[in-house]
Amino acid sequence: MRSDLDLELVNLTKRYGDAVAVDAINHLFNHGVYACLLGPSGCGKSSTLRMIAGHEPVTDGSVVLGGRDISGMPPARRGTAMMFQSYALFPHLTVTENVAFSLRMKRVDADTRRRRALEMLDLVHMTQFADRLPAQLSGGQQQRVALARALITEPQVLLLDEPLSALDPFLRVRMRGELKRLQRELDITFIHVTHGQDEALALADEIVVMNAARIEQAGPARAVFDAPATAFVARFIGAHNVIALPEGKVAVRSDELKITGPEGARLQGRITGVEYQGTHVALTAAVAGDQEVTALLTDKDFFGAPRDMGEAVGLDWDGRAAHALRS
């Protein structure tokens, strides 16, 4: 369903000299989605985000938001706002002044500025820190301030550049809940760059997997996870085995693999690793063609029929669990 606030990338290209950072990508972000750009470092996801934000000139193609080509506009006029990886809070300004910065640039009067900034701080639960300096805040608090500062401009699209990477794991899980809540409350598009597949799966309505300057696969989070289109996506998204069979490569989720006796199974192999993970046990097996596959069994299944290292086993899966991969 198209709306007039959709964000569309049309043949968007970024070249640095001869190096191509983003190679003519096309994608439509529907209004109000939480989208994650997922990929390894150097895949072009950050360049893409910075081109949408206007901090990186577009080499070719365009960024269309709300029916207008915004690729030549200054960042503040685009209807986007960016939250920087290092938060980029102004160290000499208090929390309130940081949040109200864009209003001050627009010469809004001081009372309105303060009132609006406090509203935004309320949204991210930071009102009690309004008069502190950024250096007096923890990483998570700084991030909330950065979020408030980005949101005060009332953007249609919020761009987040690896927003959780500087936080410790516990805080990361909490902040991702917070991001999701804000996105629902504000009903605007969030585009979140990350290299963490768990982060993308936890947050995103839509995942765009990038590799080597191109979009490898895009779609709803479940669709991408359940049916990775390429070997790269299957490996990057995790919890999949890429198995080369005579009829071609297929991806099979680790938890879809069943351990059986060696006879009659699709693959025969020898167990090379048993790793206990609490709720699950991961079995690694070496199979024909010098391949290694991993099966994830629930602890009940495994301890019901324990296997030892070096044991010959068969690996089997439901025909519907295997997805042929595009090469």
């Binding site: 470092s41 920087f84 864009s102 070997a231 995790g238 919890a239 085995n241 890429v242």
Partner: protein
């Protein structure tokens, strides 16, 4: 891997995958390794004694070459003098004469005037040069090259740099003859040389680099994403300069200001050469006294100058906290 995450990513058949999400997370979560220098190497010495010993060499150098001379100057400033002799004494005559003469006030005022005007020009030029180097020159190689270019004048001595202005600015100098040949003026400009103009020109020429260096240094530490954040918030170039760059550059500006103000206030040779001995500042007052062997009087003036400069620095430091820069 985030705690409580349901599954561990497997990548069968990808043994050489260089960046896996799980690995990256672990790298971040890994606690920083801290190295600690053990104090036990200092043997039987207690921390206390070791600290004193470590501080002693510098303390000794400062005591002999800084504190002692200043104490000497203060002592001598209370001595008495006649036309042909100096005698140890404790009298306030030197100070009484200094504060009783309106020459002193005029000369101090003139010194402040030189300092203020030179400061304004060096700040303007220094800030601009530093800004250009830090924000417009993209590559480090060019930054270093252009920075070295700025220091080339320092390969010769102060005096030579100063004197080389004379043939340029003189009555029949390059500047005047060029202007006359262009028909801009009919007769030579008298104020080009041996005037306040030439004094300040020489000061600005000599000391601008002392403003460039600390400002450039602070600017290089400004996180570039702050500039992007400002433009993301709709700040124009001038607004970014005024609301972000200048406030964050203040410590550097202050250090440069202290350099320039103290150098100009303590100078005597530039004023003598470039004013053709027609203007005076406190430095020349002291130098004249020394020339006449009036050491007690020179000392008294020096003590007052020192106090004045320290007061100026004290006031400057009230505005900006430079400790984080040092």
């Amino acid at each position: 891997m985030t705690p409580g995450a349901p599954a561990i990513p497997f990548r069968a058949g990808a043994p050489s995958s260089n960046e896996t999400p799980a690995m990256t997370d672990q790298a971040i979560a890994k606690p920083a390794v801290r190295t600690r220098v053990s104090a036990s190497r200092l043997g039987a010495l207690s921390h206390h004694a070791a600290g004193w010993l470590l501080a002693a060499p510098l303390a000794l150098v400062l005591a002999v070459f800084l504190v002692l001379p200043i104490v000497m100057i203060v002592i001598v400033s209370f001595w008495g003098a006649t036309e042909f002799s100096i005698y140890p004494d404790f009298q306030w005559d030197n100070y009484r004469f200094l504060f009783g003469s309106d020459v002193t006030y005029r000369v101090f005022l003139n010194t402040f005037k030189y300092a203020a005007i030179t400061w304004a020009f060096t700040l303007l030029i220094g800030f601009t040069v530093a800004y250009f180097l830090a924000f417009h020159v993209r590559t480090l190689g060019w930054q270093v090259a252009l920075f070295l270019l700025c220091t080339i004048p320092f390969w010769t001595s102060n005096i030579i740099r100063m004197i080389s202005w004379i043939p340029f600015l003189g009555r029949n100098g390059l500047a005047n003859s060029t202007l006359i040949s262009w028909g801009v003026i009919d007769e030579p400009l008298e104020w080009l040389l041996f005037s306040d103009f030439s004094v300040i020109l020489a000061f600005v020429h000599l000391y601008t680099l002392f403003m460039v260096v600390p400002i450039f240094n602070t600017m290089m530490r400004i996180d570039r994403s702050l500039i992007e954040a400002a433009s993301d918030a709709g700040a124009s170039g001038w607004q970014t300069l005024w609301h972000v760059v200048i406030p964050l550059t203040k410590p550097g500006i202050m250090i440069g200001t202290i350099f320039v103000v103290t150098l100009v206030m303590g100078d005597f040779i530039t004023v003598r050469f470039m004013s053709g001995s027609q203007s005076a500042n406190v430095g020349r007052l002291i130098s004249n006294d020394i020339g006449l062997l009036q050491y007690p009087s020179a000392s008294a003036t020096a003590v007052i100058l020192l106090i004045t400069v320290l007061m100026v620095i004290g006031i400057l430091l009230r505005f900006v906290d430079i400790r984080k820069e040092l």
